[in-house]
């Protein structure tokens, strides 16, 4: 059964239509990530689910209950804010209990839930501190604790890690994944960081310009992007894009690159000019003459692998991947092979066609 479902919801701000008819189903226990660049409507969509923004049109169902007209507190969802929004004058315990007191929950039940949450998040020792006496990571936990005690149908996170430093972000990300495993609760997580999305999500919903570009598992989205936008947004380093001229008949086609080299491939497309996309790991450095050659400009050694930034003869820039012990040096002329099963062609509307 789907826990949260949006049916054709719309939202405008002062006459400007921002969200125009989005429909979406989120399954119970699923961790869904809204991924998109700044201004793509992730927060707005999340806040519409939370009740912090009104829904102008359309339906919202949470836990089987029509919710678009309910007040935020009555929707059975809990939200973790980007800046945590912990009440500064209350202790950690009071912060977590506040929402429960407001619905007149019995004292011993509140006590139990707060203590349980503190144990889950390993912050028993912090309960009597004020937010000002906590580190950024601890505040983050309190914010999550404040959501957990409500035992909601779904958790909503709006960029919860963006205020943490890089190391802590990675650690907290893992902790969040663990927490989700343990609690098996429905979560919606907003981020513009594709690594976070890839590592956490059961399903990623990619938003662009307040439209859903693609919905899929992280690997789906990574391997079979729907569009030029998704292909460019997901993955780090990003996909290489090259101009290509497609010729030949279905089953045996050639894509001619700007430097004159030819790649054999098979794709359901007629001849014409397309943009060719290929991820760095599908471009390999070869010891023997191969598809084409390029001059290395920058060599990034990442330990287990090496990224080689190249310039083809016609000036096209490209990133290739080599092993950790790569011997390529800047200025070297290197041979390149393309893994033709990982090629994507994008037509002039930005739609993707995957090579077979």
């Amino acid at each position: 059964m789907s826990e949260i479902s949006l049916n054709n919801v719309c939202k405008s701000f002062g006459g400007v239509q921002v969200i125009d008819g989005i429909s979406l189903d989120i399954e119970s226990g699923e961790l869904v990530v809204f991924l998109g660049p700044s201004g793509s409507g992730k927060s707005t969509l999340l806040r519409m689910i939370a009740g912090l923004e009104t829904i102008d049109e359309g339906e919202l169902t949470i836990g089987g209950k029509r919710s678009e007209h309910l007040a935020p507190g009555q929707r059975d969802v809990a939200m973790v804010f980007q800046n945590y929004a912990l009440y500064p004058h209350m202790s950690v315990r009071e912060n977590m209990a506040f929402g429960l007191k407001n619905i007149r929950m019995p004292k011993d039940e509140i006590e139990r839930r707060v203590n349980d949450a503190a144990r889950i998040l390993e912050m028993d020792a912090l309960l009597d501190r004020r937010p000002a006496q906590l580190s950024g990571g601890q505040r983050q936990r309190v914010a999550i604790g404040r959501a957990i005690v409500k035992e909601p149908a779904a958790f909503l996170f709006d960029e919860p890690l963006s205020n943490l430093d890089a190391a802590l972000r990675v650690r907290t990300r893992v902790e969040l994944a663990e927490l989700h495993q343990r609690m098996q609760s429905t979560m919606i997580y907003v981020t513009h960081d594709q690594t976070e999305a890839m590592t956490l999500a059961d399903r990623i919903i990619i938003l662009n310009d307040c439209q859903i570009e693609q919905i899929g598992t992280p690997m789906d989205v990574y391997l079979y992007p729907n569009s030029r936008f998704v292909a460019g947004f997901v993955g780090s380093p990003g996909m290489n894009f090259l101009q290509a001229e497609l010729s030949g008949t279905a089953g045996k086609q050639q894509a001619k690159l700007g430097d004159g080299s030819q790649i054999e491939l098979s794709v359901d497309l007629g001849p014409g000019a397309y943009e060719l996309g290929i991820r760095p790991e599908a471009v390999r450095v070869s010891a023997t003459p191969a598809a084409t050659t390029g001059t290395a400009t920058v060599v990034e050694r990442l330990g287990e692998r090496t990224l080689v930034h190249l310039r083809l003869e016609d000036g096209t820039e490209l990133i290739a991947q080599d092993g950790g012990h790569s011997e390529v040096k800047p200025g070297d002329l290197v041979h390149l092979t393309f893994d033709t099963s990982q090629l994507h062609l994008f037509d002039d509307k930005g739609r993707a066609h995957h090579a077979k």
Partner: protein, 280 residues
Amino acid sequence: MTPTTIKRINWVGGIFTVFTVICAILWAFPIYWGIISSIKPEDEVIRPYIELWPETLTFEHYWFALTETQIGTWYINSIVTAVGVTVLTVSTSLFAGYAISQLRFPGRTALWWLILASFMVPTQVLIVNHFVLMADLKMLNSWAGIILPQLIHPVIIIVYKQFFDQVPKDFREAAAMDNASEWDILFKIYIPMNWGVTTALSIVIFIWAWNAFLWPFLAVTKTEMMTITVGITQVFDAFGVYYARQLSAAVLAGFPVALAYLLFQRRVTQAITLSAGIKG
């Protein structure tokens, strides 16, 4: 840093120190003069030259003020009216400031401009109207008559609105997710987050109300309803005005305020830094 620049900085600092000391003396001298005059015998007070220390020390004027006047009643009147003005002004301004800052209702902007405009009108301009109004309501010579016209302090509303405006909207949203009512949001979040403002404003209003003279002077004619500031004018007997006696009454009148400020001074500063910290 070269030795010359150090010297120059010390110079500037020195001049500044001298300047502040002079200002402090200018400011404090009348108070000092009032206090020592109140412990001089009357004939020393009226001597035409300046004596910085009394020849003979006497507390007879204080004794007179405390025993021969109704100073006890005046104290009570002052306390009741000053506390009344403080509590009522703070609580009404709090609600008004919150409503204008946080709620959306028709006429909100108009109301805000009205309050800003009334800020420009000095209360003295209205004093005749107030007098007629209070007379019509038969409230002259009563605590209510002293308190009501002193409740007009648009600036307090403005300060509250400004502070509530600065509370990040995340807190309001978090509270909404926490099922808090508008009432809860005001009393459990906005006010506690701005305790510093409330403390500071309360002390300031209390001091204003305690020191108020013009209105209580007009509103009260009966000696037993006077506040202490007005009461001072009554410290005379059949032989006329004794300066030292009046000064001793004035010192007694100012004493509680001075004490209150000394006691709360640290709290006020602390409270203000605290509420500034919340915003950081």
